[in-house]
Amino acid sequence: MLHKTKFADKDETMIQFERFTLANGLRVLVHEDNTTPMAVLNILYDVGARDENPEQTGFAHLFEHLMFGGSVNIPSYDEPLQRVGGENNAFTSNDMTNYYITLPAANLETAFWLESDRMLSLAFSEKSLEVQRNVVCEEFKQRYLNQPYGDVWLKLRPLVYKKHPYQWATIGKELSHIEDAKIEDVKAFFKKHYNPQNAIMVVGGAVKLDEVKKLAEKWFGPIEAGEKYVRNLPTEPEQKKAIVETIKADVPLNAIYKVFKMPGKMEEGYPAVDLISDILSQGKSSRLYQNLVQQNPVFSDIKAYNYGSIDTGMFVLEGKPLPGVAMAYADEMIWKELDALKNELIFEDELTKVKNKYESVKEFDEMSLLDKAMNLAFYELFGDAHLANTDIENYRKVNSEEIQKMANQLFTQEKATTLFYLAN
């Protein structure tokens, strides 16, 4: 097709960083980047929705909101930060909770002051709990209930996971779990998860390692280590029987969701499966678009992606068949594409294409200081921040045989979970 192009000889940019650990167990990574006048302080807590009590789901995320309700010595979190020209936000996933600040580097110490105080202790205000319960309930409605297809993952997760706590979404199983949250639960959750041992801090931008060391000792050094949370989650057993469910709702178009379990982020086989989703769905040259949208129009929209979870993850195919297309036929056409991956070795060019795209996306991502800082934090959580620079080798090594092998391992009838989401 095209002449061969390889990235192998590429002199890529690396994310340089230094690492140290405080006596209380807080891990600190420092990435100096003097092309910007800004600094980033990112703190990742090793707690996500998977660590929740099944009777109190949505708690990690509700807790994230409460982290902005004032800490033991500082009544307002946002205001002092805005006063020095900074901004912040946070997100919670099934695996982790991540908080970040960007601010002019000259005012870096304000970020240390604010973040260390809320790691030390929160204010635990009843008013804040009451308001944030409402805010999170409105978020639940806005994103999951008052949207067409918004509740799909509330329905799908429990079909896919029978044992593992990935069976609920980060927002929680139901509104009542959030409505019933008590201040004692909030305090217990803080004690269990929010301490230096369970956190990873990344400081990046126009900062100096020595300065960060000094500030980290000053503000975080005095915080007690706390107890190390030892995670002991059930493993999801292998699926032996196909699961099919049909629901009807007030949506304009039928939709089909098909999920297969897949390796966790740092597990063997993950890069190959990640590349499979690109082969199927990255760009308009991808197989699903070319075969099922363009050439043989079965879907108006179809994509494949995966969740990048730490534990056994989800490989998802999601499509909206065109009006008049029978769901069984749409399902069959998806299988046809999966069978092609199982039965035929993919051409070298196609594999090179998705690898090139992967590397290029990574390169574009590195234009953002915040993205770089988050990547370091994520990979440190996955095992070692150096993986942020070396994980790419695991992608380069993937060959056509491995793609075929993983396709055969994943895409079997009995391991599929299919949800037909039909228009009333």
Partner: protein, 423 residues
């Protein structure tokens, strides 16, 4: 022991450095603006065309023309274009906005020699093949059907229609519009808009001589006799202030409130932006503090100032619990009126000033963001002294000026109010 109640000292931001665009001119008159910065060996090249005469009988023609650029040329099929671009790890992005139609290339530097010629194909030799056109229309139609089930989408559509009527700025696409698109019309629009005299190129990233030479070689000899059509947008706002779309089963109501307003070229714009920030323009704003952080009525509420080349508008947007929709409107009105009667406290204003300076500094992260800043000036006929003025205004503005502005521009009774859900 450190005193944790005492905030550390902080510094005011004094200087903000802009990487200014350097202008080149191709032989055929196309201006090329270069923003050279960054460590990564990559580049974004944007080809921007001013929209032209929009008409109500062919309302989606300009956006469909733009979307079809990637769908086939004299020498390359849609599939071949996609395969080539994807193979080099590049991205292209057609983009249609109220004022411009554009096509952007994101590419690693070493492949620009391979990827840029494909862009040229799309800009000079698109053929709008029937099959691909059918696919695009079919899929956009399905997507619109889903959009029409979302209250926030309905609210935004009704709001812009109320403000800008049946004009390019106000028109909301209808399902049946997709059945009326004709290939010939697209071809005619393509000829009329995508030509060198109507083209601006903005290139940002780590730019080498080779990249500039590629642009010159490929686009310097692009000739065409077309003249630039004038770009005018005329609109008549709705007579009705309240637009209520009832959804009996709604859990939340989507709210949009506002009115046509000045745009960036007006001398009051920067000051009004500061007032808007206090009111609803950042996380610590009065709307957020009152309606989310104090009352918990919503996941988010904010206000903003939309600037278009031929108009501007002010808007407030939120999705709130259906049972508290009325209460939210009352609070919004109250917050507007407080700004008209009471002076903004010095401490709050000082905070907002610092916040705005910090966010301006933070918004200049990389070459792409510097290029975006440039575009936000250039297409309004403004120069970098706009930002000198911005910085001076932020530093010097006084509470009494803000109060005058609130009275001059904001009148809750004059605002258009769109509610989708229950009230």
């Amino acid at each position: 022991m450190i005193d944790r109640q005492q905030a550390p000292d902080f510094k005011q931001i004094e200087d903000i450095t802009f990487i200014k665009a350097k202008k080149h001119l191709l032989n055929n008159g196309i201006p090329v603006f270069e923003i050279n910065a960054g460590e990564q060996e990559l580049v974004r090249i944007e080809f921007i065309f001013q929209n032209s005469a929009w008409s109500i009988d062919k309302p989606i023609m300009p956006s469909v023309t733009n979307g079809m650029l990637t769908e086939g040329t004299h020498s390359l099929s849609s599939a071949q274009i996609a395969a080539k671009i994807d193979y080099y790890g590049a991205f292209f992005q057609p983009d249609f906005s109220s004022d411009h139609s554009s096509l952007s290339l994101y590419s690693l530097n070493k492949y620009v020699g391979d990827t840029l010629p494909i862009i040229k194909e799309m800009l000079t030799g698109s053929i709008f093949p029937d099959k691909e056109l059918e696919t695009l229309l079919r899929n956009q139609k399905q997507r619109l059907k889903v959009g029409l089930e979302k209250n926030d989408v309905l609210a935004r559509r009704a709001f812009l229609s109320a403000l800008f009527g049946d004009s390019l700025y106000g028109y909301a696409n209808q399902i049946e519009d997709y059945d009326k698109v004709k290939r010939d019309n697209l071809m005619a629009y393509y000829q009329k808009v995508y030509h060198p005299a109507n083209c601006t190129i903005v290139v940002s990233g780590k730019i080498t001589q080779n990249i500039l030479k590629s642009i010159l070689d490929l686009f310097g000899n692009w000739h065409n006799e077309q003249n630039v059509a004038p770009f005018e947008v005329e609109f008549i706002s709705s007579n009705d202030k309240l637009h209520y779309i009832e959804k009996s089963d709604a859990l939340q109501s989507a709210i949009r409130i506002g009115m046509p307003n000045i745009n960036k070229t007006h001398p009051d714009f920067i000051q009004l932006q500061i007032l808007n920030t206090i009111f609803g323009g950042y996380f610590g704003s009065r709307l957020m503090n009152n309606i989310r952080e104090d009352k918990g009525y919503t996941y988010g509420i904010g206000s903003g100032m939309g600037s278009l080349q031929k108009a501007g508008y002010f808007f407030i947007a939120s999705e709130v619990g259906a049972d508290v929709c009325k209460a939210t409107l009352t609070e919004i009105e109250k917050e507007i009126n407080i700004l008209k009667t009471d002076l903004v406290p010095e401490e709050e204003l000082a905070l907002v000033k610092n916040y705005l300076m910090g966010s301006l500094l933070g918004s200049l992260e990389n070459a792409f963001s510097h290029a975006d800043k440039f575009k936000s000036l250039y297409f309004y006929g403004l120069d970098y002294d706009y930002y000198d003025r911005y910085i001076q205004t932020v530093k010097n503005i006084q509470p009494k000026e803000l109060k005058v502005l609130a009275n001059k521009y904001w009148d809750y009774n004059e605002f258009y109010k769109v509610i989708v859900g229950k009230m």
